[in-house]
């Protein structure tokens, strides 16, 4: 491969010049440069997010005004909305693909893919990933799986519509639902490719973090972002293969007549030959990934938020070691709590007790994180940049959404709110909105690093405040819909007079959702406009200490023009003072990691 494949840690004296010419294709398309791959992930994730969010706006309109005719339905859904009235199958397809796209394509690949690729090499002082080639393949597999998923929308019988959890037998039998035909086949193929991509990416992240740290960059001098990305990658490597096995067995059941998940089925007038399989087995396999998956989504956001809070508070992150310990604890516990999605699945109730216990344990490291974040901004000198606002917003939604998790995670309380709108409100706040805030914070913060220009801060402020108000406006009242007993994935609630008095509430939620969705156009405009016309960025606009800000604004292969910087201190020396209360470096409230310890300066015992 190209010379960039050799990113040497010990390669200090080499100026790492690249004398070969880059063509358009090697630079922008089949690029092996982690910074370009990061941008590719971001752009793909952004397009998928637009599709996913648009879908949510469509089905929110159906929920608020059931059976109403909308021109936009007819325009976007075509035959799925005869005379502009959304079809029930189309509704299920929309919620299914919305879930799939947002969880996997936006918040897993879009978030981890973008920021792990960008920040791991830059923040640990490496010239590129351990295997830039594998990195490129990972992106293109992700791209391929996105294409397959999106193309399934155009099938005659419609895309997968069995919910994003695709529980068989519904997902296994085309006669149970038209979407379980070709649509589900494409869903499964797309996810299989996605898992391959995710594994390649994750292995690369882990190896790079362990092997390619620059001199002086001990594990306890890593920024929390890198810790979070690495732990996320480990969780992915542990759990994604299990989803692959579930997908594979489901493909076997669907196409080769096996009975892993199917048994005793009578449908459309005939008995199927399947015997001895168990849908509960699928649920176990699915949630063995499915639950860690929500942490795969939220851990990178936690890392990003920790970094941005510290930088903009001009204070060290509070409890650096506790933050790492809680990341590890959350990652470990996340792999042994999957059963809390299955309390009433027919699983042995004793197992439910065990999973309640492990699930509520996970609240402890989460609480530690929340308290540490709050203490980080206490007595700070908060620079309320848009990235900082989104980080504070993330802490707020993470607490609000996380607290209701204590209700969901309690097997007893789960009985009556399982699969109602309460769970929708819970997970959208704690993982959807929080992870999205983390991603947006990351975009605002590292935009100057990615594109060499600044995003407009005022548009950023408008974007944040509208989004913040609307997020609560959508998901806070939604808890009440759930407590009233309204099940999720209902095309309309008009068949139940007892839900009639919730109509106003549904309209309120939808109005907030539509405003929030439209407000994202401000972000899109700001994002694309700033790429080309934004103000040119300085090398270190936020006065941060980490290594990525020591690289030149103009991107170059290998990241640093000269030798790789050495690291002498942890990444959170903000506002550190000497005995006289003066900053260590006079007139500057931060000390980059590359600055050696000063005379008489004590190193933090972190």
């Amino acid at each position: 491969m190209s010379a960039t494949a050799q990113a040497h840690v010990e390669d200090h004296a080499d100026d790492h010049g690249h004398h070969h010419e880059q063509t358009f294709i090697t630079k922008y398309i089949f690029s092996q440069d982690h910074k370009m791959i990061s941008k590719q992930y971001m752009l793909t994730g952004l397009i998928m997010a637009i599709i996913g969010i648009t879908m949510s706006m469509l089905f929110r309109m159906q929920l608020a005004w059931p059976g109403e005719s909308f021109t936009i339905f007819e325009a976007l859904l075509g035959k799925w909305a005869p005379d502009g009235v959304m079809d029930a199958e189309a509704y299920l397809a929309l919620v299914t693909i919305h879930g799939t796209i947002m969880v996997f394509f936006v918040l897993t690949a879009g978030l981890s893919g973008t920021f792990s690729n960008l920040l791991i090499p830059l923040q640990i002082g490496a010239r590129d990933m351990a295997s830039p080639f594998l990195n490129m393949v990972a992106y293109w597999l992700f791209f391929l799986s996105s294409i397959i998923m999106v193309s399934s929308l155009f099938l005659e019988a419609g895309p997968a519509a069995a919910g994003w959890t695709i529980y068989p037998p519904l997902s296994a039998l085309p006669m149970a639902q038209p979407g379980s035909g070709m649509g589900m086949t494409l869903w499964l193929i797309s996810m299989a490719i996605f898992i391959a991509s995710s594994l390649m990416g994750s292995l690369n992240f882990i190896v790079t973090t362990i092997n390619l740290r620059t001199k002086g960059m001990s594990m306890t001098r890593l920024p929390l972002t890198v810790w979070a990305f690495m732990i996320t990658a480990i969780v992915g490597v542990v759990s994604f293969p299990v989803l692959f096995s579930a997908v594979l067995l489901l493909i076997m059941d669907r196409s080769f007549g096996t009975s892993f998940f199917l048994s005793d089925i009578f449908i459309q007038g005939e008995v199927l030959h399947h015997d001895g399989g168990s849908p509960v087995l699928f649920e176990h396999l699915f949630w063995f990934l499915g639950h860690p998956e929500v942490y795969i989504v939220i851990l990178p956001a936690m890392g990003i938020v920790s970094e941005i809070l510290a930088t903009n508070a001009r204070k060290p992150i509070f409890g650096y070691r506790a933050m790492i310990a809680s990341l590890l604890a959350i990652a470990f516990l996340s792999t042994i709590v999957w059963g809390h999605h299955m309390f009433i699945s027919g699983m042995n109730p004793f197992l439910g007790s065990v999973f309640t216990f492990t699930t509520l344990l996970i609240a402890i490291p989460s609480a530690v994180k929340a308290f540490n974040w709050i203490t980080t901004i206490w007595k700070g000198n908060l620079q309320l940049n848009p990235a900082m606002l989104f980080s504070i917003g993330m802490v707020s939604t993470f607490i609000t959404g996380g607290l209701t998790g204590i209700i969901m995670g309690d097997s007893t309380l789960d009985i009556n709110i399982h699969d109602t709108y309460f769970i929708i409100a819970h997970f959208h706040l704690v993982m959807g909105i929080s992870a999205a805030y983390g991603a947006l914070a990351g975009v605002y913060h590292w935009f100057p690093k990615m594109f060499g220009r600044m995003m407009n801060k005022n548009l950023g402020y408008v974007h944040f405040w509208i989004t913040a108000v609307c997020s609560y406006g959508v998901f806070y009242p939604m808890h009440f819909v759930g407590l009233a007993g309204v099940p999720r994935r209902y095309y309309e609630n008009t068949a139940f007079p007892m839900f009639d008095d919730l109509t106003n509430l549904q309209i309120l939620i939808t109005v907030f959702a539509l405003v929030a969705g439209i407000a994202q156009l401000i972000f899109l405009y700001n994002f694309f406009h700033s790429i080309f016309y934004g103000k040119k960025a300085e090398a270190n606009p936020w006065h941060a200490t980490t290594l990525e800000w020591t690289t030149p604004v103009e991107h170059l292969h290998g990241n640093w023009p000269g030798e790789i910087p050495h690291v002498y201190r942890w990444p959170y020396d903000y506002s550190k003072t000497d005995e006289n209360g003066e900053y260590i470096i006079p007139g500057q409230d931060f000390i980059p990691q590359t600055v050696p310890l000063q005379e008489d300066e004590e190193e933090m015992l972190h």
Binding site: A176, I344, L361, L382, L384, S411, K457, N458, R489, D500
Partner: protein
């Protein structure tokens, strides 16, 4: 409602205009175009943080005040009382934590907003503080876990003590069927492979099983008040979930396996309809339905309060309308109703 929406829209528009004018001003003066927050930004956003905190509190109280009445009424089952109790305690704890942490977060964001010359405190660690906020959640959660597991074990203990009524709930796309054990209160063996639509053996009962003959198959679930009911659940096609929110009861139905749930109804349908909160709810809803009827819309007939069984696991196109009425009545009424039903034997005989 409309007023509320108007206020929200006005606030949003105001924020937007205020920010837009600022952008305009900045583009005119061309000073401090660094796109990094300056003291004015810090101050303004600090104030907005306080505003946002008020918004969070306001939406909390507003929702509780306005939507409290749409929540499920008091539980109509015995264990439901414990369930509601546990829910209430958990909610109280959560609200205390929520109020505290959100206040600290947003107040600090305002209080310590950046100012020229302000020095942040270099404060990286405090073992005692961290110990405190680890141990408090540990104790609280330990209490919640123990209480929760105690309740859970009681609810999920399906046993034959106290002569429970045995009822099979049978799910298929997209309707429910219930089967009673009949005089012997024992369900006959059944399997989907024995389904014979032509002879209307729709549940696949084994005709050679002596327990099957007196089974009663119905499309409306009747339960005697005060007697424990043990549900055996079976699905013939995809996963369904038997959700009975008014009884705080739910269990999935899976093809190839029998799942169980058990509860004791404590309030009859007739008694429930006389509760003040239910009378209010029915009045409220019938008013909405009358308005709909005036406009000639569907689903607008006057409504009487009923217990209901819903499907709560996505099962296909008509998932949203898979329901069965539940009627809780006195022992005598139940026996009378039961005596009027045809047994499986009778049904089979009539189709021979």
């Amino acid at each position: 409602m409309t007023a509320f929406l108007t206020i929200i829209v006005l606030v949003l528009v105001a924020i937007a205009i205020w920010q837009m004018t600022k952008i305009f001003e900045l583009s005119l003066i061309k000073v401090d175009n660094s796109q990094v927050a300056n003291d004015t930004d810090n101050k303004n956003n600090g104030y907005l943080m306080v505003g946002f905190l008020i918004f969070i509190y306001w939406i909390t109280f507003y929702c509780f005040w306005k939507y409290n009445k749409v929540l499920l009424p008091e539980s109509a089952s015995e264990h439901g009382y414990d369930y509601d109790q546990l829910m209430l305690i958990t909610f109280v704890i959560l609200f205390i934590v929520q109020a505290l942490t959100q206040t600290l977060l947003h107040y600090f964001s305002y209080k310590y907003h950046g100012r020229a010359g302000q020095k942040a405190l270099f404060y990286a660690d405090n073992d005692r503080l961290e110990f405190i906020w680890t141990i408090i959640p540990v104790i609280t959660l330990a209490a919640l876990i123990l209480y929760g597991l105690y309740t859970w074990t009681n609810i999920m203990d399906v046993n034959d003590e106290g002569d429970p009524l045995i009822v099979e709930l049978y799910g298929q796309q997209f309707n429910w069927t219930a089967r009673y054990g009949g005089n012997d209160n024992v369900l006959g063996e059944a399997n989907v492979r024995l389904i014979d639509i032509d002879r209307s053996n729709v549940l696949g009962l084994d005709e050679s099983d002596p327990n099957a003959g007196d089974d009663v198959i119905v499309k409306e679930l009747h339960l005697p008040v005060g007697r424990k009911v043990n549900f055996k659940m079976r699905s013939q096609d995809v996963i369904h979930s038997a959700f009975m929110p008014q009884f705080r009861a739910q269990m999935n139905l899976l093809p190839g396996m029998i799942t169980e749930f058990s509860f004791t109804p404590t309030i009859t349908t007739a008694e429930m309809r006389l509760k003040p909160e239910i009378i209010d709810k029915v009045k409220r809803i019938n008013k909405i339905r009358a308005e709909k009827a005036a406009k000639g819309e569907p689903n607008s007939d006057p409504w009487e309060y009923d217990f209901i069984l819903l499907c709560n696991k996505i099962c296909g196109k008509s998932h949203y309308n898979m329901q069965m009425k539940i009627i809780v009545e006195t022992e005598e009424e139940f026996n009378k109703w039961m005596a009027e039903q045809k047994t499986f034997q009778d049904t089979m005989a009539s189709t021979q």
